[in-house]
């Protein structure tokens, strides 16, 4: 500061209040914080959907209740798939930090397979419910259920698309700084979806069976 003041002692205070000599911002230096703030806004979307489910969850319109519809064995399997995909993504991150392209790609692929298994089970559950006549148009309970769980499933779908995209990027360019940053963003996204799923299986499925 003393340097800039002596240089502009004639009365021009611009240098005192503005950063004229802008220092370098490393590329992507603020990406992780920005992505975290995006995740927090996503968290608010889910909070709204959880609130809607909390309000409408008991309005069956003389239709089926959670106890008639949910199959906890299936949900336990689903939860296991997402939990496994979380730890395998963690392994991918550890290999990434070691700079091992092959091992990173392998763990990413396994993560993608677990994610796909989760989606397949969820789609099976949805199609089963719709086949039973318990589709989203049946009651307020089912509308809010499909919106909440479906939005989570949609996030997982986009997560898988993102994961495949990054696997192609890593295959083409290797573990360069930009790819590492992207993998770290997806890591946050993927673990965040697992956190949301804790809320889903607790409040929707387990609490639903207690109604």
């Amino acid at each position: 500061m003393s340097q800039s003041v002596t240089a502009d002692s004639t009365g021009d205070l611009t240098a005192r209040y503005f950063d004229l000599h802008e220092h370098d911002h490393p590329e992507g230096g603020s990406t992780m914080l920005g992505f975290w703030i995006y995740l927090m806004s996503d968290c608010l979307i889910f909070a709204m959907l959880f609130a809607a489910y909390a309000v409408f969850g008991g309005n069956y319109a003389a239709g089926p209740s959670p106890r008639d519809l949910f199959d906890l064995d299936l949900i336990a399997l689903n939860t296991a798939m997402l939990l496994f995909s979380s730890i395998t993504y963690g392994f991918a991150m550890l290999e990434m930090e070691k700079g091992k392209v092959g091992a990173t790609q392998m763990w990413l692929a396994i993560t993608g397979l677990f994610g796909a298994a989760f989606l397949a089970i969820e789609l099976y559950e949805f199609s089963h419910l719709i086949h039973l006549g318990a589709g989203p148009q049946r009651s307020a309970f089912l509308s809010s259920f499909f919106t909440l769980v479906g939005t989570h499933g949609l996030h997982v779908t986009f997560g898988i698309i993102w994961l495949v995209t990054l696997m192609v990027q890593v295959a083409k360019k290797g573990l360069i700084q930009a790819n590492k940053r992207r993998l770290m963003c997806l890591s946050l996204f993927w673990h965040f979806l697992d956190v949301i799923w804790i809320g889903v299986f607790t409040f929707v499925y387990l609490m639903g069976m207690l109604r």
């Binding site: 500061m1 927090m40 608010l44 939860t79 939990l83 979380s86 392994f91 804790i198 387990l206």
Partner: protein, 125 residues
């Protein structure tokens, strides 16, 4: 913030941005989440506790603990990442989430209470 301070202090600034987990962190987190997931499912599927409201409170407590485990061991949250801004954003979001959830349920509960007599319309004088 002085210019001199900026040029010197900036290199170290971004290194502390993202904190990484170790293998041990991930394994502890995974083990804890498996336990914290299995117990609520067991409580509900096996009808272990006689009281439903007690079961509900216990599984909600397990969910809260598991979210914290995921935050610490998988998302590597701590007060230092991104110079504390991650934690600030999280706390602000949690405040909004609590307001949204508690507020909606509170308001709608009272609405249901006020609409109760509708069901007994025929018995009204």
């Amino acid at each position: 913030m002085s210019a001199a301070h900026d040029t010197h202090g900036h290199d170290g600034h971004h290194d502390e941005g993202a904190s990484h987990g170790s293998l041990k962190d991930y394994l502890i987190g995974f083990f804890l989440s498996v336990v914290l997931t299995a117990i609520p499912f067991w409580l509900v599927m096996g009808d272990v506790l006689a009281s439903k409201s007690a079961t509900a409170i216990v599984i909600m407590a397990f969910a809260v603990v598991q979210v914290l485990v995921h935050m610490v061991y998988f998302l590597h949250m701590n007060g230092r990442s991104e110079g504390g801004w991650n934690l600030m954003a999280l706390l602000f979001t949690l405040l909004l989430v609590v307001i949204v959830l508690a507020g909606s349920m509170w308001v709608m509960y009272h609405l249901h209470m006020n609409m109760m007599p509708v069901h007994d319309m025929r018995q009204l004088p």
